[in-house]
Symmetry: C2
Subunit: 333 residues, 2 copies
C-alpha cells in the first residue's frame, strides 16, 4: 500500500504495511496464551489482548526489523514477546492502581480478582521469556531482560514518588522511562538486532523508541487532566485521584504560592480530596500553564524521535515511524 491513500494516520499505515506479520503475531499470541489445564489463563488474557489495543509496541518491533530487510521468522516471536510483557504489566497495574477502567472496559480484576491478575500476569511474563529464548539470540535476551527490570524498577519508583511533593522532574523522567519508554526502546532495538542492523542504526532505533515512549507518556499525562475518557481509555482525573506526581503537577508545585502549596499538600500528600478539588487543581494548572509546558516537552521528545529514525537509511516504513512520533503528541488538541 502506498503512502498516499491513508496518509493522515500513521498507525493505520503501519497496520496496513505490517498486516501479514501482525497476523502471525496474533496467531502466535493466541497459541501461546492457551493453557490446557488452566482455562482461566486465556479467559483473563483474551480480555486484554482482544480489547482493541493499538498494538503499537509489536508493530514497532516488526517495523524496525523490516526496515533492515529481515525476512523472519523471529521478529514475529519478538513482537509477541513485547505484547506479552505489555499485557502482563497491564494486569499487574490493575492490581496495583485499583483503576476502575482500562481501554474503556472493566479491568480484569473487577471481572475476576486480584489473584488471577497477578498469576496470569506471571504466566505471560514466563511465556514472553520462552518466546524470546526461541530466537536463540543472547543479545536479544539481554536487552529484553534488562527492559523487564527497568520497567519493574520504574513502577516501584513511581510508587515511592506518589504522594511525595518533593518529586523532581528528573525523577518523573526516570519513572516514565521505566514504566513506558523502556519497552518502546527495547521493542525497536530488538527489531534492529534480529535483523542484523549495524551498531549505529541499532542505537538510532533505541533512541527513537526511547523518545517516542517519553512523548507518548507525557501526552497521556496531559490527557489525564484534559482529554476525554474515550481518547485514552481512562477517566479524566485518575492520576489526581491516585495522587500521582506527573509532570503537570510537578511543574505547578514548583510554581505554587502559599495557598496553592497548602492545596497540593492536602489533596496529594495527605490524600484528603473533596468535591470540586479536581476543578480547583485544573484551575491551578491553567494559571501556571503547566499542561501547555508539558505538551511542549512532549513535542520536543517527538522531534527527537523523528530525528533519530530519519538518521536511518531511506525506507517507506521509516517515514511512517517518523509520522508516528508526531501523531502520538497530536492526540493533545
Amino acid at each position: 500500500m502506498g503512502l498516499d491513500e491513508t496518509k493522515d494516520n500513521p498507525l493505520d499505515r503501519l497496520s496496513a504495511w505490517l498486516a501479514a506479520d501482525m497476523d502471525g503475531v496474533n496467531a502466535l499470541i493466541r497459541d501461546r496464551m492457551a493453557s490446557e489445564h488452566a482455562p482461566r489463563i486465556p479467559e483473563v488474557t483474551r480480555h486484554l489482548v482482544e480489547a482493541g489495543g493499538k498494538r503499537i509496541r509489536p508493530m514497532l518491533t516488526l517495523a524496525a526489523a523490516r526496515l533492515f530487510g529481515y525476512p523472519g521468522p523471529f521478529h514475529v516471536h519478538l513482537a509477541a514477546t513485547v505484547e506479552f510483557i505489555h499485557t502482563a504489566t497491564l494486569l499487574h497495574d490493575d492490581v496495583v492502581d485499583e483503576s476502575a477502567q482500562r481501554r474503556g472496559r472493566p479491568t480484569a480484576n473487577l471481572l475476576w480478582d486480584n489473584k488471577s491478575s497477578v498469576l496470569v500476569g506471571d504466566y505471560l511474563f514466563a511465556r514472553s521469556f520462552q518466546l524470546m529464548t526461541e530466537t536463540g539470540s543472547l543479545r536479544v535476551l539481554g536487552i529484553l531482560s534488562d527492559a523487564a527490570a527497568t520497567i519493574a524498577e520504574g513502577e516501584v519508583l513511581q510508587l515511592s514518588a506518589s504522594q511525595d511533593l518533593r518529586t523532581t522532574e528528573a525523577t518523573y523522567l526516570r519513572v516514565i522511562r521505566g514504566k513506558t519508554a523502556a519497552l518502546f526502546s527495547a521493542a525497536t532495538e530488538v527489531g534492529g538486532v534480529i535483523a542484523g542492523a549495524d551498531e549505529a542504526h541499532v542505537r538510532a532505533l533505541f533512541d527513537y523508541g526511547d523518545a517516542l515512549g517519553i512523548a507518548f507518556q507525557m501526552t497521556d499525562d496531559v490527557l489525564d487532566y484534559g482529554g476525554s475518557a474515550g481518547s485514552i481509555g481512562k477517566n479524566v482525573g485518575d492520576d489526581f485521584r491516585e495522587r500521582k506526581l506527573t509532570l503537570p503537577v510537578i511543574k505547578a508545585v514548583a510554581l505554587a504560592d502559599e495557598a496553592e502549596r497548602a492545596f497540593w499538600t492536602r489533596v496529594i500528600a495527605r490524600g484528603d480530596q473533596r468535591d470540586g478539588d479536581l476543578d480547583a487543581a485544573l484551575a491551578i494548572l491553567a494559571r501556571h500553564r503547566t499542561l501547555e509546558a508539558t505538551r511542549a516537552e512532549a513535542m520536543d521528545w517527538a522531534a527527537r524521535a523523528r530525528a533519530a529514525v530519519l538518521s536511518l537509511p531511506p525506507h517507506e516504513g521509516r517515514e511512517m515511524l517518523a509520522d508516528l512520533a508526531d501523531f502520538v503528541v497530536e492526540r493533545i488538541r
Copy 2:
C-alpha cells in the same frame, strides 16, 4: 567436612559442603537486589531473603553442578536465579493468599502493601532472567523459562481448583508439580546441564528434583493439618481456612458419607466456616486416616527421589541428596 560429624541433618551437611559457593550466591543476591533509584526494592526483598529460609533450592543447583565436577562460575548465577524466582513467587503468593504469616514473620504485604509485593516480585523475576542470560546457555534459559511458566500455570490451576470438591488426585499432583516441584527439578537439572553432565544423568537429576519437590509439598500439606507453626512457618489450618483442596481433604471427600459430604460442601465449597470446624475436619481426616495415606505417598516419592539420585556416579554429595529426600518427609512425626 566428612559425613560423620553431622550425619543426622543432611541440610546442615549440604550447607557445610557448599558453604563457599553459598557465600558467592548470597553476595550475588545482595548485589542484584540493590536498586540505586528504588530503595524500596531491597527493603522488601531483604525481608524475605534474610528471613532465615533454608535455601534448599539454590543448594540443589550447586550440589548438582558439583556432583559433576563443575568448577564454576555460573552455577552460582543459576543458584541465585532459582532463589530469586522462589522469592518472587513468595511475594506474589502473599498478595494472593492473604496469608498472615510466612516463615513465622509478618508477610511483606502486611509490612508494606500489595502494590510493593507485586512490583518487587516482578523486579526479582526480571533480575532472575538477567542472571540466567549471563550464563550464555540457551538450554538453561529454556529450562528455567519453561519452569517459570509451569509454576504460574500451577498457581492458576490451584486457584481454579480451590473450593472445588470435584478436584481429583491427578489435578492435585499437577498443581504441586507446578507450584513446588517445577522449581526443584529445574534447579537440579540446570546444575547438571551447566556442568556438562550426560543426558541420562541430567534426566536423573530432573527426576530427583521432581520427586523431592512432590514429597516436600505433600509433607507440607500434611503438616498444615498436624504440625506446629514453628516447624513450617505457617499456621495449622491455613489451607482449610483458604479452602484449598489438598491431598488429605481430596482423599477424605472421596471416602465421605452423606453427613461428611455436607460438611465439606459447607466449609470448603461454600466457605461457611464456624468455630470448631477445623477440629471437625481433623476428626474426619483421622477417621479415614487420610493424613497417614498422604504421608505414605510422600514417602513413596521420597524413595523415588533417592533412587534417582543414587543412579548417578558415586560422590559424597550424592549421599547427602539421597538423605535429604528422607529428611524432607521425616518432618512429619
